[in-house]
Structures are given as C-alpha cells and as structure tokens.
Symmetry: C3
C-alpha cells in the first residue's frame, strides 16, 4: 500500500522543492503526481518547449526516492492555442463558446485540438517514456468535469453526423430507429441532422440518447489517441485516468477499458452535497446529510457507492488519485476536517478496495481558482491537519499492507448501465425517477446491513456473484439479457425491478407486452404501470417478513406466467393481475420481478430474505453510523459518528471510538 | 353526440390499419383526426408529393364508416424546408434561433414560411377538399404551444414596424401613445423600433402590449391564409382549431372568429399543475391540487373554467379535440387514470357544452417525444383503461345524445379581455396580481355553489345574462364600456372590481380620476388604491351577510357620487371616502364597484346576495367535490371524489358513487 | 434645510407648468431637479438642438423662486445614436447586446459614446453654465443601476487589456500577480486577455477582481469627462451624482472623490427587499422585514446603513436626491405609504445627515416604465399622500433648519472597502459570507443601542473616531494597514474580525501565517480557520459579560503573540492555540482580533464592553422599533412602529406616537 500526493512544482520557487520533498518523505509519501495542468510551462509558445524545469522537478523527487506519475496536460490548453485556433473551443447547448481562463474548454472532436494533443503527449512521452523515476501516466484530468461532457460546436455537428452514418448506415434505418416520422422529423441525409442543442426545446429521446453515446465515445476516442502514443513510447508505464465517482455524463466503463486500472477523486464533504438530490428518496426532504454522521466526514454511503462503482469499472483494486485531506473550496459549506477524519477517509478508501491513496494537494495554492482548497500544507508552508493525520498513519503502514494484500470481494452485485441511466434521465415520467436513486435504495440497505456489494456493468464478469440486482434494466439490449440469463442459469438469483425491458437499444418503447424482451426470462407480463403521486399507495401483502405494507412512487401490476411463483400481491386488485413480486426458477437460479419502487425498509426486508436463501451473511451487525468492509481475512470497522459504538463480531464486542477505525483479523 | 380519436396511420404498418379500424368501430368511434403532423410524409422532398398512403388511410377509415378530420400539417415543417430556408425559424427573445427536431419552430411572419404553408394546404385541399369521407379541417395545431407565441426574428422586426405604422399612421402618434418621451425613447421613424427582446431589460409597457397584440394578430393572419384556401377548395367542410384552455399568450377570440366552431385539448391531470399558480390565492400555498378531489381526476374547477372560456369563444357548443384518456407525459407526476375516470372526464366535457369528444390518442407511440403518453391502446396494441371506459360508455350513448341535444346556458357571465390579461401581467404592481386569478375567485365560488357561468369577452353577446362580473376591466376602451353600459341599461347587474378603468387603449394610465372612463358608469371616484402586503388588512363592514371582515391583498377607497349607494365601508376610514362597495342604478340595471380583492368566502357571500336579487338559483346544493352542470332539462352531477355523496335536487336525494356521474331529467 | 422635487416638464403640456409651480411653492419646495432623461428632447436629431422648451421650463421655475438642478442626460441616449452607432451599446457577460428601450444601455468605454456624451454636456453647459436659476448639476443618473456596471463588449475587451498593461507594465508581472501559471493560463501578451465573460464558467479570482476594478474605474473616467466640461463652463455650480445606497458593483468612494457632495436615492420600501438577503444572518429565515416595524416604513436599520455609507463617502452632509414619497413600482409588494410615513422618512434622512430632501417625483407618470410609482401628485393631478405630509412639514421648517445647522458626528466607525467586498463575493467559501452582512451585524447592534456610527473607507479621515471596527480587512494593502495602524497609535481601539489579512492586493492568498500583513499589528497568529455548517458550534468563554456562548458560522483559532491579551477562549481547544478574542496594546490604542463571526447578541455585548472602556455612550435607551440620531445638540427620535413608545432621555420620559418624530434639544 502506498501514499501519494498531488504536487505542482511549477507553482513554487525551486528553492522550496527540497523542503517539500523532505516533508513528503517524513510523512511517508511514496508517489507524486505532477504535470497535468502545466502545458503552458512545457510549451510556452507554439513549438517552443521547455522541459528543463520538469526534468529538475522529477530529478529532485526521484532522488528522494519518490515515484512520479505524470499527467498529460490536455485539460488545460495554453492561451496561444485558443487564440490561434478558436475552433478548439467547446460550445454549449445554447451556442455560447467557452473560452480560456478555466479548464476543459476544448472540444474533443476538434481535429485541430486532437493534433495538438497528440503533439504534446508525444513530446512528453519521448522525454519521459523511459525515465527511471516515472512509473505511470494519468491521461488528461477528470473527463467531463464542470459539465463539459457534451459539445455542440461545428466540429461536433460534423462528427455527430458521421457517427450516425457509421452507426445506421442508411438514413432510412436512422429514421426508423428514431421514429423520425413523428412530427415530420424524417431526414433525407445525415448532413441534415444537428446535435440536440438548446434551440430545440422538446427533443426526440432517441436522438438525444445517441448524442449522449456519441459524446461519450468522443472522449474514448480522444483518450485512445493519447494511450496509443504512450503505449508506444512508455511501454513499461501504467496508464490511468482519474474519474469522478458517481459522475453521470460519460461512460466510465468505456473509458476504463483501455486503462491499466481506474482511479477516482474522492471528496467526501463535497460529493454528497452534489449527489444527495439524486440518491435519497425522491419525495424525501434531505436538505442535509444523514444526521447520524459527524458533520465533517461526509456521507459514507454515497462515497462507498462511488468506491463500488470505480472498483467495478475493471473489477479490480483501484487508486484514489485525489483524496480530500482537509476542506474543499467548491461546495456550499466546505467544513474543515478535524484531526482523525482524513485518516478515517483513508481507511474507508482502502477498505473499499483502494491500494494507493494520493492526497490532493500538497500545499494550498496561493493563487487562482482553488485558493480555498486545503493541502497537506497550509498556504504559509506549515503543516495542516491532513499532514498530521498522515504522520499518524505511518504507525499503521504494516496494517495497511496487510489489508491491501487481501482482495475485496462481494457475493452480491448491483447492475448498472449508462444507457439506462441516460434514457431514464431523459424521460423520468415521474419527477425524480432516476437510476442512481433506484440503485441507491439497494446499495444503502446492503451497506447499512454490512453486506459487501459491487456496482458493476452488465458487461462485467457476473459469474462471481450469488445475487444480481437490476433495479431497472431499462434498455433491453441482447447483451444485457444474455448476461443475466447466463448468470441465472449458472445459479444466481436475479432481482429485476420496475421499468425493466421497456426500451429498445435505440430508445424506442418495445411493441411487445412488458417487460418486453425480459418477459420470458422473468416469467411475467406487466399489465399496467403507474406513477403514484405523493400520498397515493397500493396496499401490498407478502409472506416475506417485513415486506408487506404499501407500494408508493411507482407500481406495476404483474401477471405471472405458467409456473412463476407469487411472493407478494396487491391487496385491492383481482387475480391474475395482482402480483406485486414474482419468482421464476431457471436453470440453477431464479429470477424475481419486483413490481414497485421499494422503500429502504422494504428493500432491506427483501434482501434479507434473499440473502438467507443464498447463504449470504453480513460482515457484522452494525450500529447506525458504523460501516464495515472486508478484504479477505481483514475486517475493517469505520465509525463515522461522534460517539463510541460497540460492534459484535462473532463473539467479540469491538468498541470503536468516534471517527476511529478498527481492523480485525477475522477469517470468514 | 359523437366520439372521435386522434390517429397517426403513418406511425404504423398498413397491415395494422384494419385491426385498428375494427377496434375503433367496436368502441363506438365515429370520427378520426389525422394528418396534422405528417408534412414530411406528404411532401418528403420539395415539390415531391406522396398522397397515396393518405388516400389509403382515409379510404380504410371511410369504408368502415368513420368520418375524417384532416389537420393541416404546418406545425411541423419538414427538415428540407428548415435547412433550405432558415429564415422560417422562430427566434427567441434572447436571440436563440429555434431549430428542427420539435414542433412549432416556425415564424408566422416569415414570407417564405407563409408561401410554403399555402402550398401544402392548397395541395391537401385540392386532393381532399371534396373527399366524401372528410368532414372538416383543423388548422395547424395548438397555436402558441410550447411558449412559441412570440418571435423576435428579422421577419418580425420588419413586420412589427409595419404593423405599428399601420396602427399609428405617424410616428408622432406612436410616440404620444407610448409616452416615448420618457427616458429619451422617442422615435423618428418606425424603422427605428425593435420588438421588446431580452436585450431591453426593463421595457415600455405600451410597446410590449402592442408587441403582444401584433404577435396575436400575426397568428390570426397566418391562420386566415389557410382558411381562405380551404373555404375556396373545401366549401362544405368545417374549419376549426384546437385551443389550449386557459392558455394566455394569444388572443383566442380573434383566432376563433373565422372558425366554424372552437375545440380545445383537455388534459385534466396536466393543466391544473400548469395553471394552479395563476389561479389560487396569490399568497396561498397550493403545492398540490385541492385535496378534496381524487388524485387522478385533476382539478375540475380549473378544467371547467377552461371549458367555459372555450365555450365562450363563440358562445356555442364546442368539441374536445384531444381528450386525455389515461396518463400524460409532460407534467411532473403524471398519474394514470383509474377505471371510470376517463368516463368522468367525458361527461364533464359534455356537461360543459362539448358535443364531440375526440380522444388523444389512439395508441401509445413507440417512439419520439410522447412515448409516455397513454392512448386508448397500449404500446403493444392491447386495449388500455381508456378503451375500457369508452366501451362502457357505449351503453350511455342515448343519454349522451339527449344531453347534447340540449343547450348549455348561464345567467351569469365573467368578463374577460386579452388586453387586460396582458397589461396586468406586464405590470402586476403586487406580486401575483393576475386577471385569470381574479376571475378564478368568482369562477370558483359559482362553480362550488353549482351556478352556471360563462367566461366571455366584452365583444360577445352580453344580452343573455342577468349578471356580469368584470373583476378588472383594466384597459378601458370605448367598445368595452359601451358593451357593459348597454347591458346594464337593459337590466343587467354589473359588478366591477379593483383596477378597473386604469388604462387607456395604448396602455397609458388615465389622467382622469379613477376609475377613469368608468367613473360615471359606476358612479364612484377611487380616492386611493393600495397594494397590501401579506398580513395587512383593512376592516370592512357590510349589511350583506358574510361580506364583513377584512380587505386584504388590494384595496381601493371609494367616494360615491350623487345617489350611488354604499353597500360596504372601511371601518377605520372617514366619510365620504370610506366606501368599500357601492351600487348605482342605471336604466333597468345597476353597477356595483367592489373596492377590494375578495376572498373565496367573500366572493361567495356577495354573489349569493346579488343572485338572490336577480332570482338566480344554483342547480343543486352540492357537497364539496361534487360538481353540477345543466344542459336544458338535463342535470349532470359529477363526483370527483373517492367517496359516496348525496345531492339534494329539489325534493330528491341523489346518491352518487365515487368518480361516478348521474344524469337527471329535471325541468328548470 | 431645503426641500426639492424631481420634475419632468417635458412630460406635461406647458399649460400645466404654472399650476405645478404654484403647487410646488405652496408645499414649500425650494429646488427642482430636471433634465436628466431628456436627451432626445434636447437633441431630437443628430446635431439639431432644441433648447427653447428647456429655457421656458427653467424660466417658469426660476421666476417662481425655485432653484434648478440640471441632470446631464447621458443615462438615456436617443435612438438615433444607438441605431447609427451600435458600438455604444453595452454587452452582457453572456454576449447579449443591450438595446434601446430602457436606460443605461451604453458602454462607458465606447469612444463613440464618450464623444457624444461630451458633446451634449458641453452644449448644455454652454447654454446653462451661468444661468441665474441653475445652482448645480447631477452627472448622469444612478451609475450601475439595473445591473449595468460591467460591460463585455469589444470596446471593453480592448480597454481592459490596456488597463492591465498600464497597471502591470509587463505581462510577466501580470502572470505573477494573477497566479496565471495555474491551469496553464499564462499569457504572452495583454492582447490575449479577455474580460471574464460567461464563456469562462470557473474564473480566476485575480482576473475577476481586476475586471471589477477596471469597470469601476471606467465609470470614474467616464464621469470625469463630464465634470471637466462642467468645471470649465459652470464654475460656480456644484456637481454631484445620485448614488444607490448599499449598491455593490461600483466604487462609490472613487466616484464621489471629484464631486462636491454626494446624494443618494432613498426608497425605504424597496431597498430592504433588495438588500435583506445580503444583510441578515446567512442561515436566518428573513422572508419579510423585521416584524417590529410598521408595514409601510421599510426597515430603518438597512436604510440608515445606506445613509451612513453615503455620509461616509465624503464625510460630510449629503442630499437625498430622490426621496420616496408614496409607493414605488419596482419591488414585489409595493405598499402605499400612510399619512405620516413620508414625514418620518424625511426626518430619518435629515437625522442621518441629509440637508436637502428632493422628493421623487412630482407627479405620477401617465406612461412608460414607472407608471405605478407615486409622485407628490396623483396621475390625475390631484395631491397625494406625500404632498399632504410635505404640507404638514412646513410647520416644522424652523426645526429642520435648527437640526441641519448642526453636524452629524460619531465616535465609532465601521471600515469598509470595495476590494474586500468584491473579493469575498467572488470566494465566499461558505454560502452567504458577505462583507456587507458582516458589517451589518455591528451596524445593527449599534443602531439598536442608539449609538452613532459612520460607515467609512480606510481612505477616509479615521482620526475622528475612538473606535474602529473592521469586520473583515480582507485584501491587506499597505494603505489600509497604515491607516488603521496610525489610528490605533493615536489612541483608537481597532476591532479586527475573521478573514482579515487573507489576501494580497492582486487577490492572492498571503504566503505568511494569517492574518498575514496584519499579524504584527494584531499580535496574533491564526492557527486554523473553519467554515462551520449550520448547527456546528465551538463553545466560547469570556470574562466579557454576554460574550460567552457558541461560535458559529466561521471560527478561527488564535495563537496570541508575546504580550497580547486573551479576552475569550475556545473551551474545547488546548493552549496556546485556543484564543477566540485577543487584545494587543499599541501606542495609545489597542487592537482586538475576534476569532469568530458573532451573532447580534454577541456583537452587542462586545461593543458594550468596548464602548464602556472608551467612554462612548448611547444617545438614549431605545425600545425596539424606535431609533435615535443626534445632530449636535439636537436629538431626533423616530418611531417606526405602530405603537406608542416611551424613551428615557436623561431624566426625561419622552412619549412618541406611532410613526411619529420627536426632536429634543439635549446638550451632550
């Protein structure tokens, strides 16, 4: 297990570098990420390169025994490039062209920008591709950050048309796939199509979903050009990218495919504020984090879900490329971390499967956009609270190594797909219906119970799980159906939820009875589906303990086929269309269809019943606010509250102090 | 009485058409509306027409005995037209040009678009103007829908200047009419004037009102070009347009003038959500519909007010051109209708004066913008809840015929004017002062009491009413004053409310004591007027039962003239300026002036007193949630709640089940 | 003491002028402001002037003994100018060009507009610069009103580059000053820089602060061109400008420098609504004004703070150039003033240091944007409530003269700086941290206690104050530090608050321990600083009565240096870093540093302790809702409530009626 830090040598006088490096070593730093925003320092004028400062910086770091991760600087083009070639600039949906003065203002489909990106990456790789102190590369920085995933510039108009032509071959096929006959939208040629910009106030959802896919693939292609150069010139270095947890607008799986491993940037006090409204119950009032947690620790359920998503990208350990180590500057309240909280976050990340923790940032910047963001050092160069925690963690290095040498594994997977996320985002039908939220109901129930769960794609290896939960398998493409069918036949329990099987791959509604292509697999037919306004409920009864009660928010009446078993019914509806939860056996496994959007309590009850059947047991019985994770033989208990708690592990009573961590060797 | 349905044969394989037609016949459908969005199917390339599919569709329908209403497809220009002539595209107030991919993105003042519109309408009319299965035409679709009533493109800059030149003749007259001397705005020529776009952050209200009028007239002129062609080539067909109920941005009366009858598109679960904030008390918290009603029926008061407005457009029976028959897709919650609710809505429409109910739509679309909108059939072609209700209503066809053979009539009219609506919208002075809301106070009181009321223009025939309510006769033009004066002299009681007589036709303030040109008619002078913040009230006393209490929201001190009688006074103000409600006799009638904005309870009390005087009696005594309407001898009771209710009609106790309808033959 | 009125003779027939003038004289009007929006009347076409009407108007006024203040009409360019030279039009941050039809749509950096401005001012000055009835000039009108302070047009792109070149001399210096190395923003030349427009979604705070300064200086330079002409051609006339109280976007001190005195436009029912959210506690729910006050008087604390700011601009008496005299038209609720309220406001202004009260406006306009704004006369020419109050005040003219002949003086000053305001606005770090709000805590506490306080700049004369409060001396430039150091050495008590000393003049963070350059002066080092979310508190204890309790919202741990005394400590923190309030003696004075953002009660307690030490005593003991001011020997008591109150002054019990004023001769 290694510690790292994000460092900007170009921001400080060289005379300071040696002091910084010494302080890094004293705190046990092993790895330093540099360079990812320094294009204008590397190439201050067109074709005039200045590598000497970077050579010296790497040298100073390397001689102190630090390993260097280099970032390609393409998130921040120099001003001379923007002024000479304004066609590289991204354009918003409302036609406003972005400009120099921030980051990520480029268009990934600009042929000009692609050429300049390749040039700077090639130049860096030629210089450092075999450098002894460099161990790997981060491509660009936080693709899509700052709502930059989609561009509507002329480059993209052309590229989108070409992408559609490649996808659909003939315009007739596209018209069919989009239902373009509706409202006279039929096209005679691909060049008549534009991205769905703000001038179209009410948009065709098939067109928009394709534009989202096109945008996502644009970044994959853009990234691949950099990867190709690095694979060629830095063949012994790893390549990664720093993702943003539950970020929604790009396909993280597609981006991760060509990387050696995934990393993400974890900001526990910021991301919950950003994600809260997408995750908690749609009609709930969650103006603040769950109050059970201490005010400065963030919301561990949400952060762990982001860990789970990143871990699932490649189903292997990952890095935290930027770990919050104090306060941040971009949220609303930005509380400072107290002593111990940075350690708690570090253990939380490691417990969730991270093997390397890179803190962001070394020292608070004196200038520009991120002045109010903590570093391990303060503005004045003295050590801050994160540094103190890091020092304290040096005593635990052996324990970290023990833990990270073990695998993280789960018997349950939550299934997730970008098409489903976007299609539901485009047409929620009921305010607040969101795939992340629907996943969160189950994620939270399992996390609270202390049951490990992975958040994975249908394209991941599903064979390792006993139970699969697909809250909404919405866009029913053949690959997804085959994947879950295969897993069920091999013995898995699959739980399908409402609005599954609704859409075709081009975002049309199926013309078959619902759940469409999943109907046979689930052994059911959906007779009606309803959005339920607040306060409107259908009474449900079930033999499963705790599941009876009320269906709210969304309900579907199920008619079971043939031998499909009924596990819950709507009390006020007549047979045979009154099933609310069904189960069909298939091969060695079974498929359940849950006809309503469950509450936290209902999800907990249902999962408990299914887990019992599959012999899946929680890691520990957890008091509220204490979370648990397991890596192999190691059990990690994390207390996110301001109180002492006692956790029962087997026969032991483990006491855990406020915001403290306990690691227990406990064979499964 | 006839049933109809909106059908899109171009969306389905022809092989399905016969099945659809058979299902229509089985459900008692008589009329089918088609074609209104199919331009790109009719003219897939410029000047290349394809009528064969439409011939076949009409043929299939007609041979099954169905009558066809054809829509002109000008709400949805084909993409080749937008790409070849981008000058046809509407431009928003903030200069964003609208684009292909939705509907209503055209500019009604584009000479190019007008020419192309005439061409396609002429071509359609030449082919179908005498077709035996076609009975009439719908012009375009929902003028103004999707906030498209006003355009700021170069076509409109020119057209607005020309419109102003025609209206004011000389620029001096315009400067005078607009008070352009204010803030150095005086113009030397009409070509210096622009529409009041977003670049003018604080606008001259005379200019804006004229621009609203100009925009409204633009659509009238645009529509007239289509009407002229159809009158010529389809002389035996009716012509109509589908309006949008309480839609505000176009002058529905002006548009309706040249039509044979009016229709509107009734969406009971969607429009209340849209209108609620314009209708309930301005400081009230109405985050949901009135909770007395069942969750899936909408808010009948609001929908009935929209019926009343549409009925008043031509003071004759109307059609529902699109009647909701399940859930819709464009509101926030979109609940599904339960069995019986579609029947309830159908009877509600008929009770309000509709003679033809056309359901929207035949089958849920598999693609594009409206995928989540119910049809009578589901996506998979099976019958949905609306179809079941329609089938059930076949047993009532005779009763429907009885009811629709009777006239809808009212003794009370609410007076409404677009100039007043817009002028108050531009200068509410107090947050939330809105003419629709002010009308709604009275509308709701009467509807709740079970008293028929029409919502009519000052230009309608007022001679048929015993009582006229003009909550705010704001822009005091000669025509309006003459109309109400004449009605009063003939015997009507006229109730005038606050802010009446304030403005001149060009939206200046009168330089006469208020209520300006209405002062003599009402026999009063307004001494002061005040916007009252929440919680600020003036005590009022009146001999009229229930009227005493507090004046809130808005108050005016009235000084009665000569023999004007005082019916309420402000307790804390001195004579003679303390009148709060006055009454002046004139000819056979009388004119009241109410000096404050009444609550629901105050409006109810005042109306009861006035009705008693005029011998106007409610249809029935109604429990909350039960509404009543009368067509001639037929009394229709509608229960919008989830409970049984008993209604006393004469000596009879009529029991009415939840969401049920009772029709009673009850001579007046 | 004089009364005045804003009059628009060009809006009324000349036949009315004599009536108006007679009514003015009867009400005791001495001064009339005219002309400030009449450019199109003065120069109806390019280079064609019409002065005759204005000659006649001035003549009519002057012959009646009225003195005329002329406004230069540059807030409202005529349409011929905008159409001929669209480069004069301001452009918003989102690239939308402003247009004719409102006011203030010009760019102050347009060389074209500057030339035309000079021409019209020169022409006016040539005609009226020595006119016997003219006494002075108002430049333009409400610089920055309607969010117009900043322009992003091509003129400004060029001017901003030039301004930066003049400020920084070399681009290397600018890159250093902005920290442009961050995110590759370094510039090679000034011409590569653009204003921070909306296309840059996340901006460099040094760049933005410089742009705010540039914008502010643009108006100073624009104004100076008019002043130069007037000084030359109207050497015996005063020159002023009408400011907008707590308006934030321009540097009022810089604008006031070249003026003879300052004036402001006081709208007591409108400005509180506008400012409330910037002033009351950031997590407080203040949806309405402080309910202790009568509903029609506004919020006197806020208005008095605006008086204090305007008074401080030049540390001398000022005018109210526009005093509300009824209701206004531009807020949400716009209540009408009751009889007595206009008198109350007039006395409030005079009590705060105003010597001339000019009412806005003479008569309600019949047309255009401000129709719903009261005048002294109504639309119909009859006298309104303000006129009645003005008439009543004639009996008090001698008392007004007595009061205005006395100086307004205070022993306490609140220190304020535009750089600090803007820098904190750009990076509040915690939602709602705002300098005005931080000032308001102290202002309100003092105002409520009846203690006079000035709101002044660090550039003002500080020697007259015993106590200086700098809630946040944020951008620590040498001038500010020298000013407060000097004052302390001379004997003043200086109270510094959180976030002081944080920034350098170019908006970088200091690289020294906080409070940076103030560290020696205050004798402290800030060890940590924290934004505290709602509900998170640090316990504080202090020997100062009433100060113990909780630190919320923002806290800083203080380590006192050397002999710095500790006046409050954080209970739960260890020495020596647990100081919460410190005091260091310096010369004849002392410097306190308060480590948290105080509540109203805490500020009150702390101030009471400090005042006692300095021998500063309240004017009177005030019941809630009664405010007091002192001018020399005259004590003015103002009752802003609807109840009678008794005020103890010395040994006397003064009874004051609702919304009444008492003036008491009370030697200090």
């Amino acid at each position: 297990m290694k510690f790292g830090v994000c460092y900007y040598p170009e921001h400080w006088p060289e005379s300071r570098w040696l002091i910084d490096v010494q302080l890094m070593r004293e705190a046990g730093i092993d790895i330093v990420r540099i360079g990812e925003f320094a294009w204008s320092k590397m190439e201050p004028q067109y074709d005039v390169y200045d590598w000497e400062w970077l050579d010296r910086a790497i040298d100073v770091l390397g001689r102190a025994g630090l390993q260097v991760v280099l970032g390609t600087p393409t998130a921040t083009p120099p001003v001379w490039l923007s002024r000479a070639h304004p066609d590289i600039l991204r354009v918003d949906a409302d036609e406003l062209q972005r400009d120099h003065g921030t980051r990520r203002h480029y268009c990934p489909n600009s042929t000009t920008y692609r050429a300049y990106s390749r040039r700077i990456v090639r130049a860096m790789a030629e210089r450092y591709g075999t450098h002894p102190h460099v161990i790997g590369w981060q491509i660009d920085n936080e693709f899509g950050g700052g709502k930059t995933a989609r561009c509507y510039c002329p480059n993209c108009v052309t590229a989108f048309s070409a992408w559609l032509a490649a996808r659909y071959k003939s315009i007739e096929t596209l018209n069919e796939a989009w239902g373009a006959v509706f409202w006279s939208q039929s096209y005679a040629g691909f060049d008549e199509i534009r991205p769905p910009h703000a001038g179209v106030n009410y948009k065709n959802p098939s067109q928009v979903l394709d534009f989202y896919r096109f945008s996502a693939e644009s970044y994959v292609a853009y990234q691949q050009e950099q990867i190709d150069i690095l694979r060629d010139l830095a063949p012994n270095h790893f390549i990664t990218h720093n993702f943003m947890g539950l970020y929604r607008d790009l396909d993280q799986h597609a981006l991760a495919k060509a990387l050696d491993f995934a990393t993400w940037d974890a900001y526990p006090t910021g991301f919950p504020e950003r994600w809260r409204n997408f995750l908690y119950a749609p009609d709930a009032d969650f103006s603040r984090n769950d109050p059970v947690y201490a005010y400065d620790v963030g919301e561990p359920v949400m952060i762990n879900m982001a860990h789970a998503l990143t871990r699932g990208l490649k189903q292997q350990p990952f890095w935290i490329m930027e770990q919050q180590c104090g306060h941040i500057n971009w949220a609303g309240l930005n509380p400072q971390a107290r002593r111990g909280t940075v350690r708690l976050w570090t253990w939380q990340s490691v417990a969730a499967g991270a093997d390397v923790i890179v803190f962001f940032r070394w020292r608070s910047t004196l200038f520009a956009h991120e002045q109010y963001h903590s570093g391990l050092l303060r503005h004045d160069g003295s050590t801050d609270v994160g540094y103190a925690d890091l020092l304290a963690m040096q005593a635990e290095r052996r324990l970290f190594d023990v833990v990270t040498s073990e695998p993280h594994s789960a018997e349950i997977a939550l299934l997730f797909d970008w098409d489903d996320l976007w299609a539901l985002e485009l047409q929620p039908h009921r305010t607040g219906f969101d795939l992340m939220r629907h996943l969160f109901v189950y994620y939270r129930a399992l996390e609270r119970m202390g049951v490990p769960v992975d958040l994975v794609s249908y394209r991941n290896d599903l064979s390792r799980y006993k139970m699969l939960i697909a809250p909404t398998l919405h866009v029913a493409d053949a690959l997804k159906i085959a994947a879950v069918t295969d897993a069920v036949e091999q013995g898995a329990t699959l739980l399908l939820g409402v609005r599954s099987g609704f859409k075709t791959p081009s975002n049309l509604v199926t013309d078959q009875p619902l759940p469409g292509a999943l109907s046979d697999l689930a052994g059911v037919m959906i007779v009606t589906w309803e959005s339920l306004p607040p306060g409107v409920e259908w009474a449900v009864t079930s033999p499963i303990a705790g599941l009876s009660g009320a269906a709210s928010y969304w309900m579907e009446r199920i008619r079971p086929k043939n031998d499909t078993e009924i596990l819950a019914t709507y009390l006020d509806l007549p047979k045979p269309d009154n099933a609310a939860l069904t189960c069909r056996s298939l091969g060695a496994g079974s498929v359940l269809y849950l006809g309503w959007y469950p509450t936290h309590e209902q999800a907990t009850s249902l999962l408990q019943a299914l887990m019992q059947e599959k012999g899946i047991r929680p890691i520990a019985e957890l008091p509220e606010g204490v979370h648990a994770s397991r890596r192999g033989q190691q059990l990690i208990l994390l207390n996110f509250t301001d109180s002492h708690h006692t956790v029962k592990v087997g026969k032991d009573q483990i006491v855990i102090a406020p915001r403290d961590v306990r690691v227990i060797s406990a064979p499964v």
